[in-house]
Protein backbone atom coordinates (compact mmCIF):
# COMPACT_ATOMS: atom_id res chain seq x y z
CA UNK A 1 0.00 0.00 0.00
CA UNK A 2 2.76 2.36 1.00
CA UNK A 3 4.47 1.64 -2.30
CA UNK A 4 1.35 2.56 -4.22
CA UNK A 5 1.00 5.85 -2.40
CA UNK A 6 4.63 6.68 -3.07
CA UNK A 7 4.19 5.81 -6.72
CA UNK A 8 1.09 7.97 -6.98
CA UNK A 9 2.79 10.85 -5.17
CA UNK A 10 5.77 10.58 -7.50
CA UNK A 11 3.47 10.61 -10.50
CA UNK A 12 1.63 13.70 -9.26
CA UNK A 13 4.85 15.56 -8.48
CA UNK A 14 6.36 14.60 -11.82
CA UNK A 15 3.27 15.70 -13.67
CA UNK A 16 3.19 19.03 -11.84
CA UNK A 17 6.81 19.68 -12.73
CA UNK A 18 6.38 18.59 -16.33
CA UNK A 19 3.09 20.32 -17.09
CA UNK A 20 3.25 23.36 -14.86
CA UNK A 21 6.77 24.25 -13.78
CA UNK A 22 8.59 23.36 -16.99
CA UNK A 23 6.45 25.57 -19.28
CA UNK A 24 6.98 28.45 -16.85
CA UNK A 25 10.71 27.94 -17.01
CA UNK A 26 10.76 27.33 -20.76
CA UNK A 27 9.12 30.58 -21.81
CA UNK A 28 10.27 34.05 -20.96
CA UNK A 29 7.57 36.68 -20.94
CA UNK A 30 8.05 40.12 -22.42
CA UNK A 31 5.63 42.99 -22.71
CA UNK A 32 5.07 44.68 -26.05
CA UNK A 33 6.76 48.10 -26.34
CA UNK A 34 3.33 49.71 -26.17
CA UNK A 35 -0.31 48.73 -26.09
CA UNK A 36 -2.61 48.58 -29.07
CA UNK A 37 -6.38 48.30 -29.27
CA UNK A 38 -7.48 46.46 -32.39
CA UNK A 39 -11.15 46.79 -31.51
CA UNK A 40 -11.10 50.58 -31.64
CA UNK A 41 -9.77 50.40 -35.17
CA UNK A 42 -11.91 47.58 -36.54
CA UNK A 43 -15.13 48.20 -34.59
CA UNK A 44 -17.85 50.72 -35.28
CA UNK A 45 -15.58 53.57 -34.33
CA UNK A 46 -12.82 52.83 -36.82
CA UNK A 47 -14.53 50.52 -39.30
CA UNK A 48 -11.24 49.28 -40.73
CA UNK A 49 -10.53 45.87 -42.23
CA UNK A 50 -7.43 43.77 -41.41
CA UNK A 51 -6.08 44.43 -44.90
CA UNK A 52 -6.21 48.21 -44.45
CA UNK A 53 -3.04 48.01 -42.36
CA UNK A 54 -1.72 44.48 -42.90
CA UNK A 55 -1.26 44.70 -46.63
CA UNK A 56 -0.03 42.49 -49.44
CA UNK A 57 2.09 44.78 -51.57
CA UNK A 58 2.33 44.98 -55.35
CA UNK A 59 5.01 42.28 -55.52
CA UNK A 60 2.67 39.90 -53.69
CA UNK A 61 4.56 40.03 -50.40
CA UNK A 62 2.78 40.33 -47.10
CA UNK A 63 4.03 43.36 -45.19
CA UNK A 64 3.06 42.12 -41.73
CA UNK A 65 2.85 44.73 -39.03
CA UNK A 66 2.55 48.21 -40.61
CA UNK A 67 5.34 50.72 -40.32
CA UNK A 68 5.03 53.88 -38.27
CA UNK A 69 4.22 55.83 -41.46
CA UNK A 70 0.90 53.98 -41.62
CA UNK A 71 0.07 54.99 -38.03
CA UNK A 72 1.10 58.56 -38.78
CA UNK A 73 -1.47 58.80 -41.58
CA UNK A 74 -4.14 59.25 -38.90
CA UNK A 75 -2.17 59.90 -35.71
CA UNK A 76 0.27 62.62 -36.77
CA UNK A 77 -1.22 64.41 -33.79
CA UNK A 78 -3.22 62.60 -31.09
CA UNK A 79 -6.86 62.17 -32.07
CA UNK A 80 -7.95 60.56 -28.82
CA UNK A 81 -7.12 61.20 -25.21
CA UNK A 82 -5.37 57.99 -24.13
CA UNK A 83 -1.91 57.96 -22.62
CA UNK A 84 -0.80 55.20 -24.99
CA UNK A 85 -1.61 57.30 -28.05
CA UNK A 86 0.18 60.31 -26.63
CA UNK A 87 3.21 58.08 -26.01
CA UNK A 88 3.12 56.73 -29.56
CA UNK A 89 3.07 60.25 -31.00
CA UNK A 90 5.84 61.50 -28.73
CA UNK A 91 8.15 58.49 -28.78
CA UNK A 92 7.67 57.06 -32.26
CA UNK A 93 5.70 59.20 -34.72
CA UNK A 94 7.33 62.58 -34.06
CA UNK A 95 10.93 61.24 -34.15
CA UNK A 96 9.85 58.88 -37.01
CA UNK A 97 11.03 55.78 -35.18
CA UNK A 98 9.64 52.28 -35.78
CA UNK A 99 7.88 50.55 -32.89
CA UNK A 100 9.87 47.39 -32.06
CA UNK A 101 6.85 45.08 -31.92
CA UNK A 102 7.40 41.49 -30.92
CA UNK A 103 5.76 39.30 -33.54
CA UNK A 104 3.56 36.52 -32.12
CA UNK A 105 3.41 34.58 -35.38
CA UNK A 106 6.98 34.85 -36.64
CA UNK A 107 7.96 31.56 -38.26
CA UNK A 108 11.46 30.07 -38.40
CA UNK A 109 13.64 31.54 -41.13
CA UNK A 110 13.46 28.47 -43.34
CA UNK A 111 9.67 28.51 -43.59
CA UNK A 112 8.08 30.07 -46.63
CA UNK A 113 4.47 31.12 -46.30
CA UNK A 114 2.59 33.12 -48.89
CA UNK A 115 -0.31 35.14 -47.54
CA UNK A 116 -1.32 35.90 -51.13
CA UNK A 117 -1.73 32.20 -51.96
CA UNK A 118 -3.83 31.50 -48.90
CA UNK A 119 -5.88 34.68 -48.66
CA UNK A 120 -6.23 35.87 -52.26
CA UNK A 121 -6.50 32.49 -53.98
CA UNK A 122 -7.44 30.19 -51.10
CA UNK A 123 -9.94 32.72 -49.73
CA UNK A 124 -8.99 31.91 -46.16
CA UNK A 125 -10.04 34.27 -43.41
CA UNK A 126 -7.30 35.91 -41.35
CA UNK A 127 -8.98 34.52 -38.23
CA UNK A 128 -8.46 30.92 -39.38
CA UNK A 129 -4.79 31.14 -38.39
CA UNK A 130 -4.54 34.29 -36.30
CA UNK A 131 -7.70 33.99 -34.22
CA UNK A 132 -9.91 36.88 -33.21
CA UNK A 133 -7.03 39.37 -33.02
CA UNK A 134 -9.13 41.99 -34.79
CA UNK A 135 -11.49 42.32 -31.86
CA UNK A 136 -8.86 42.27 -29.10
CA UNK A 137 -8.63 45.31 -26.88
CA UNK A 138 -5.06 44.88 -25.73
CA UNK A 139 -1.90 43.02 -26.67
CA UNK A 140 -1.10 39.97 -24.63
CA UNK A 141 2.44 39.51 -23.31
CA UNK A 142 4.85 37.98 -25.79
CA UNK A 143 6.24 34.62 -24.71
CA UNK A 144 9.48 33.41 -26.21
CA UNK A 145 10.84 29.89 -26.03
CA UNK A 146 14.23 30.20 -24.32
CA UNK A 147 15.70 27.31 -26.30
CA UNK A 148 14.44 27.87 -29.82
CA UNK A 149 13.78 31.61 -29.63
CA UNK A 150 10.36 31.12 -31.26
CA UNK A 151 7.12 32.63 -30.10
CA UNK A 152 4.90 30.44 -27.94
CA UNK A 153 2.09 30.93 -30.44
CA UNK A 154 3.96 28.73 -32.92
CA UNK A 155 3.67 25.71 -30.64
CA UNK A 156 0.34 26.88 -29.29
CA UNK A 157 -0.61 27.86 -25.76
CA UNK A 158 -1.42 24.30 -24.76
CA UNK A 159 1.75 22.46 -23.86
CA UNK A 160 0.06 19.12 -24.43
CA UNK A 161 -0.58 20.05 -28.04
CA UNK A 162 -4.37 19.64 -27.79
CA UNK A 163 -6.06 22.55 -29.44
CA UNK A 164 -9.68 23.49 -29.31
CA UNK A 165 -9.50 26.27 -31.92
CA UNK A 166 -8.12 26.25 -35.47
CA UNK A 167 -5.91 29.24 -34.76
CA UNK A 168 -4.06 27.74 -31.81
CA UNK A 169 -0.57 26.78 -32.83
CA UNK A 170 1.13 27.31 -36.20
CA UNK A 171 3.27 24.23 -36.57
CA UNK A 172 4.20 22.39 -39.75
CA UNK A 173 1.89 19.52 -38.83
CA UNK A 174 -1.04 21.91 -39.17
CA UNK A 175 0.07 23.11 -42.58
CA UNK A 176 0.44 19.51 -43.72
CA UNK A 177 -2.93 18.42 -42.34
CA UNK A 178 -4.75 21.17 -44.19
CA UNK A 179 -2.83 20.53 -47.42
CA UNK A 180 -3.40 16.76 -47.38
CA UNK A 181 -7.08 17.24 -46.60
CA UNK A 182 -7.29 19.18 -49.84
CA UNK A 183 -5.42 16.51 -51.79
CA UNK A 184 -2.35 18.60 -52.37
CA UNK A 185 0.98 16.94 -52.94
CA UNK A 186 4.00 19.11 -52.37
CA UNK A 187 7.71 18.66 -52.03
CA UNK A 188 9.56 20.09 -49.01
CA UNK A 189 10.78 23.11 -50.94
CA UNK A 190 7.24 24.18 -51.76
CA UNK A 191 7.11 25.65 -48.24
CA UNK A 192 10.76 25.73 -47.25
CA UNK A 193 13.40 28.06 -48.50
Amino acid sequence: MRDKILLLAGFVIGSLIGWQAFPLALYKTEEQPMQFNHKVHTGEQGGMACTDCHIINETGRFQGVPTIAKCAECHAAPIGSTKQEQRMVDEYITPNKQIPWKIYSRQPDNAFFSHASHVTIGEMKCEACHGPQGSSESLKPYKENRISGYSRDIWGVSISGFQSESWQGMKMSKCIRCHTDRGRKDGCIACHK
Binding site: D109, F112, G183, G187, K193
Partner: protein, 276 residues
Protein backbone atom coordinates in the same frame (compact mmCIF):
# COMPACT_ATOMS: atom_id res chain seq x y z
CA UNK B 1 -10.60 14.68 -40.56
CA UNK B 2 -12.45 14.11 -43.85
CA UNK B 3 -9.61 12.49 -45.74
CA UNK B 4 -9.58 9.36 -43.60
CA UNK B 5 -12.59 8.12 -45.51
CA UNK B 6 -11.03 8.60 -48.91
CA UNK B 7 -11.53 5.64 -51.24
CA UNK B 8 -8.81 4.10 -53.38
CA UNK B 9 -10.28 5.47 -56.61
CA UNK B 10 -10.33 8.95 -55.13
CA UNK B 11 -6.69 8.57 -54.18
CA UNK B 12 -5.87 7.45 -57.71
CA UNK B 13 -7.67 10.46 -59.16
CA UNK B 14 -5.70 12.70 -56.86
CA UNK B 15 -2.46 11.02 -57.90
CA UNK B 16 -3.30 11.66 -61.54
CA UNK B 17 -4.27 15.23 -60.84
CA UNK B 18 -0.92 15.72 -59.25
CA UNK B 19 1.13 14.48 -62.21
CA UNK B 20 4.06 16.82 -62.60
CA UNK B 21 2.62 19.92 -64.11
CA UNK B 22 5.98 21.48 -64.69
CA UNK B 23 9.39 20.04 -65.25
CA UNK B 24 11.88 22.81 -65.03
CA UNK B 25 15.11 22.34 -66.90
CA UNK B 26 17.98 24.07 -68.61
CA UNK B 27 19.92 23.92 -71.83
CA UNK B 28 23.45 25.30 -71.71
CA UNK B 29 25.14 26.14 -74.98
CA UNK B 30 28.80 25.31 -74.33
CA UNK B 31 29.79 26.95 -77.60
CA UNK B 32 28.59 30.27 -76.19
CA UNK B 33 30.19 29.95 -72.72
CA UNK B 34 33.45 31.86 -72.44
CA UNK B 35 34.09 30.94 -68.83
CA UNK B 36 33.66 34.43 -67.37
CA UNK B 37 32.20 33.04 -64.14
CA UNK B 38 29.39 35.61 -63.81
CA UNK B 39 26.95 32.74 -63.19
CA UNK B 40 29.07 31.44 -60.30
CA UNK B 41 29.05 34.83 -58.61
CA UNK B 42 25.36 35.48 -59.27
CA UNK B 43 24.53 32.04 -57.88
CA UNK B 44 26.49 32.58 -54.66
CA UNK B 45 24.98 36.01 -54.08
CA UNK B 46 21.43 34.89 -54.83
CA UNK B 47 21.61 31.84 -52.60
CA UNK B 48 23.42 33.28 -49.58
CA UNK B 49 26.53 31.18 -50.07
CA UNK B 50 28.99 32.56 -47.51
CA UNK B 51 32.38 33.90 -48.59
CA UNK B 52 35.28 31.47 -48.31
CA UNK B 53 37.07 31.17 -44.99
CA UNK B 54 40.84 31.09 -44.87
CA UNK B 55 41.22 27.31 -44.85
CA UNK B 56 38.84 26.66 -47.74
CA UNK B 57 40.09 25.12 -50.94
CA UNK B 58 38.56 23.79 -54.14
CA UNK B 59 37.59 20.56 -52.42
CA UNK B 60 35.87 21.82 -49.29
CA UNK B 61 34.57 25.20 -50.41
CA UNK B 62 30.99 25.81 -51.50
CA UNK B 63 30.20 26.54 -55.13
CA UNK B 64 26.72 25.50 -56.13
CA UNK B 65 27.68 26.37 -59.66
CA UNK B 66 31.24 25.76 -60.78
CA UNK B 67 32.68 26.50 -64.21
CA UNK B 68 35.35 24.02 -65.23
CA UNK B 69 37.85 24.38 -68.00
CA UNK B 70 38.28 21.24 -70.06
CA UNK B 71 40.85 21.19 -72.80
CA UNK B 72 42.23 18.64 -75.19
CA UNK B 73 45.82 19.04 -74.04
CA UNK B 74 47.02 19.21 -77.63
CA UNK B 75 49.81 21.43 -78.84
CA UNK B 76 49.08 25.12 -79.02
CA UNK B 77 47.63 25.43 -82.51
CA UNK B 78 45.71 22.15 -82.32
CA UNK B 79 44.26 22.65 -78.87
CA UNK B 80 40.59 23.29 -78.26
CA UNK B 81 39.05 24.16 -74.92
CA UNK B 82 35.58 24.30 -73.46
CA UNK B 83 34.12 25.76 -70.29
CA UNK B 84 31.54 23.62 -68.54
CA UNK B 85 29.21 25.14 -65.94
CA UNK B 86 28.49 22.21 -63.63
CA UNK B 87 25.85 22.17 -60.90
CA UNK B 88 23.01 19.94 -59.69
CA UNK B 89 21.71 18.21 -62.81
CA UNK B 90 18.27 17.66 -61.24
CA UNK B 91 18.15 13.93 -62.04
CA UNK B 92 14.61 12.86 -62.82
CA UNK B 93 14.93 9.09 -62.39
CA UNK B 94 16.73 6.98 -59.79
CA UNK B 95 18.00 10.24 -58.35
CA UNK B 96 21.20 9.03 -56.67
CA UNK B 97 21.25 11.53 -53.80
CA UNK B 98 17.60 10.94 -53.00
CA UNK B 99 17.94 7.16 -52.98
CA UNK B 100 20.79 7.11 -50.50
CA UNK B 101 19.66 9.79 -48.07
CA UNK B 102 18.87 8.16 -44.70
CA UNK B 103 17.01 11.23 -43.51
CA UNK B 104 14.53 11.94 -46.29
CA UNK B 105 16.29 15.29 -46.58
CA UNK B 106 16.19 15.06 -50.36
CA UNK B 107 13.00 14.93 -52.36
CA UNK B 108 11.72 15.71 -55.83
CA UNK B 109 9.03 18.35 -55.83
CA UNK B 110 6.00 16.73 -57.46
CA UNK B 111 4.88 19.99 -59.05
CA UNK B 112 8.15 21.26 -60.48
CA UNK B 113 10.51 18.30 -60.70
CA UNK B 114 13.13 20.23 -58.74
CA UNK B 115 15.32 18.12 -56.45
CA UNK B 116 15.08 19.73 -53.04
CA UNK B 117 17.57 19.59 -50.21
CA UNK B 118 16.34 20.39 -46.72
CA UNK B 119 19.26 21.36 -44.46
CA UNK B 120 17.23 21.05 -41.26
CA UNK B 121 16.74 17.35 -41.96
CA UNK B 122 20.31 16.68 -43.10
CA UNK B 123 22.51 14.93 -40.56
CA UNK B 124 25.70 15.58 -42.49
CA UNK B 125 26.63 12.00 -43.37
CA UNK B 126 27.55 13.12 -46.93
CA UNK B 127 26.39 9.88 -48.48
CA UNK B 128 24.61 11.98 -51.13
CA UNK B 129 27.89 13.65 -52.01
CA UNK B 130 29.43 10.27 -52.62
CA UNK B 131 26.43 9.14 -54.64
CA UNK B 132 26.19 12.23 -56.84
CA UNK B 133 27.89 11.44 -60.16
CA UNK B 134 28.31 15.15 -60.86
CA UNK B 135 29.88 16.19 -57.55
CA UNK B 136 27.31 18.93 -57.40
CA UNK B 137 26.75 18.75 -53.65
CA UNK B 138 28.68 20.70 -51.06
CA UNK B 139 29.17 20.31 -47.35
CA UNK B 140 29.32 23.12 -44.82
CA UNK B 141 32.58 22.43 -43.00
CA UNK B 142 32.44 25.82 -41.29
CA UNK B 143 29.79 28.08 -39.82
CA UNK B 144 28.68 30.55 -42.46
CA UNK B 145 30.06 33.98 -41.71
CA UNK B 146 29.32 37.34 -43.20
CA UNK B 147 30.75 40.67 -42.22
CA UNK B 148 28.25 43.23 -40.96
CA UNK B 149 28.16 45.01 -44.29
CA UNK B 150 27.61 41.80 -46.20
CA UNK B 151 24.73 40.81 -43.93
CA UNK B 152 22.82 43.73 -45.40
CA UNK B 153 22.82 42.12 -48.83
CA UNK B 154 21.64 38.66 -47.79
CA UNK B 155 18.69 37.42 -49.79
CA UNK B 156 15.63 37.19 -47.52
CA UNK B 157 14.06 34.58 -49.81
CA UNK B 158 16.79 32.04 -49.12
CA UNK B 159 17.53 30.71 -45.67
CA UNK B 160 21.27 30.41 -44.93
CA UNK B 161 22.50 26.94 -44.08
CA UNK B 162 24.36 25.96 -40.94
CA UNK B 163 27.59 24.09 -40.35
CA UNK B 164 27.36 20.32 -40.79
CA UNK B 165 24.81 20.06 -43.59
CA UNK B 166 24.89 19.52 -47.34
CA UNK B 167 23.59 22.03 -49.84
CA UNK B 168 23.22 22.33 -53.59
CA UNK B 169 21.55 24.12 -56.48
CA UNK B 170 17.74 24.15 -56.43
CA UNK B 171 17.15 26.27 -59.55
CA UNK B 172 16.90 29.41 -57.38
CA UNK B 173 13.79 28.16 -55.67
CA UNK B 174 13.41 31.44 -53.79
CA UNK B 175 12.71 33.09 -57.11
CA UNK B 176 9.95 30.58 -57.81
CA UNK B 177 8.42 31.40 -54.43
CA UNK B 178 8.53 35.10 -55.26
CA UNK B 179 6.98 34.52 -58.69
CA UNK B 180 4.24 32.39 -57.15
CA UNK B 181 3.44 35.01 -54.54
CA UNK B 182 3.23 37.72 -57.17
CA UNK B 183 0.94 35.60 -59.34
CA UNK B 184 -1.19 34.67 -56.33
CA UNK B 185 -1.68 38.30 -55.30
CA UNK B 186 -3.19 38.89 -58.74
CA UNK B 187 -5.41 35.84 -58.39
CA UNK B 188 -3.39 33.55 -60.68
CA UNK B 189 -2.42 30.01 -59.78
CA UNK B 190 0.12 29.79 -62.57
CA UNK B 191 3.20 31.99 -62.72
CA UNK B 192 4.24 34.09 -65.67
CA UNK B 193 7.29 32.17 -66.99
CA UNK B 194 9.16 35.46 -67.38
CA UNK B 195 8.98 35.97 -63.62
CA UNK B 196 10.96 32.83 -62.81
CA UNK B 197 14.50 32.94 -64.14
CA UNK B 198 17.41 31.56 -62.05
CA UNK B 199 20.27 33.92 -61.24
CA UNK B 200 22.83 32.15 -63.44
CA UNK B 201 20.57 32.43 -66.47
CA UNK B 202 19.91 36.08 -65.80
CA UNK B 203 23.56 36.93 -65.29
CA UNK B 204 25.05 35.14 -68.34
CA UNK B 205 26.34 37.87 -70.66
CA UNK B 206 26.33 35.50 -73.65
CA UNK B 207 22.86 34.11 -73.02
CA UNK B 208 24.37 30.63 -73.03
CA UNK B 209 21.82 29.25 -70.57
CA UNK B 210 18.15 28.80 -71.44
CA UNK B 211 15.73 27.96 -68.67
CA UNK B 212 12.12 26.92 -68.72
CA UNK B 213 9.51 24.20 -68.52
CA UNK B 214 10.49 21.03 -70.36
CA UNK B 215 6.88 19.84 -70.20
CA UNK B 216 5.73 22.86 -72.15
CA UNK B 217 6.40 21.75 -75.71
CA UNK B 218 6.18 25.29 -77.03
CA UNK B 219 8.92 26.58 -74.69
CA UNK B 220 12.34 27.40 -76.10
CA UNK B 221 14.05 25.13 -73.59
CA UNK B 222 11.94 22.10 -74.59
CA UNK B 223 12.78 22.64 -78.24
CA UNK B 224 16.48 23.20 -77.60
CA UNK B 225 16.69 20.05 -75.49
CA UNK B 226 15.55 18.00 -78.49
CA UNK B 227 18.13 19.42 -80.89
CA UNK B 228 20.59 17.03 -82.46
CA UNK B 229 23.60 18.43 -80.65
CA UNK B 230 21.98 18.52 -77.25
CA UNK B 231 23.36 16.07 -74.72
CA UNK B 232 23.44 15.32 -71.02
CA UNK B 233 26.41 14.43 -68.86
CA UNK B 234 26.67 10.73 -68.02
CA UNK B 235 23.36 9.96 -69.70
CA UNK B 236 24.35 6.28 -69.70
CA UNK B 237 23.64 6.16 -65.96
CA UNK B 238 19.95 6.58 -66.76
CA UNK B 239 19.30 9.28 -64.19
CA UNK B 240 17.76 11.52 -66.81
CA UNK B 241 19.09 14.89 -65.71
CA UNK B 242 16.98 17.93 -66.47
CA UNK B 243 20.05 19.97 -67.35
CA UNK B 244 21.02 19.63 -70.99
CA UNK B 245 24.16 20.87 -72.68
CA UNK B 246 24.70 21.73 -76.29
CA UNK B 247 27.78 21.83 -78.47
CA UNK B 248 28.48 21.47 -82.16
CA UNK B 249 31.93 20.05 -81.33
CA UNK B 250 32.04 16.30 -81.34
CA UNK B 251 34.83 15.91 -78.77
CA UNK B 252 32.85 17.98 -76.29
CA UNK B 253 29.81 15.74 -76.68
CA UNK B 254 31.98 12.65 -76.36
CA UNK B 255 33.55 14.01 -73.18
CA UNK B 256 30.17 13.99 -71.46
CA UNK B 257 30.17 10.19 -71.41
CA UNK B 258 33.81 9.71 -70.45
CA UNK B 259 34.74 8.06 -67.23
CA UNK B 260 35.21 10.33 -64.31
CA UNK B 261 33.71 13.68 -65.12
CA UNK B 262 34.37 14.12 -61.43
CA UNK B 263 37.73 15.37 -62.57
CA UNK B 264 35.76 18.46 -63.55
CA UNK B 265 36.37 19.38 -59.96
CA UNK B 266 40.05 19.48 -60.65
CA UNK B 267 39.28 21.83 -63.49
CA UNK B 268 40.34 19.71 -66.44
CA UNK B 269 40.19 16.26 -67.88
CA UNK B 270 43.35 14.39 -68.63
CA UNK B 271 44.09 13.71 -72.27
CA UNK B 272 43.70 10.02 -71.51
CA UNK B 273 40.19 10.46 -70.23
CA UNK B 274 39.17 12.34 -73.32
CA UNK B 275 40.78 10.23 -75.98
CA UNK B 276 40.50 6.79 -74.69
Amino acid sequence: MAHHGRTTSESIIMETMNEKKHKYGMVIDLDKCNGCGACTVACAVENNVPPAVEKMNSRNGITWLRVSNVNQNESFTENDTVFVPMFCQQCEKETPCLTVCPQNAVDIDPNTGIVGQIPQRCLGCRYCMTACPYHARYFNYWDPQWSDGMKQQLNPDVSPRMRGVVEKCNFCHGRLHAAKEKAASMGNREIDPKEYVPACVESCPNSAITFGDLNDQTSVVAQLSKQGNAFRFLSRLGTEPKVYYHSTREWVRAMAEQKGPHSLRDSQFSAEAIHG
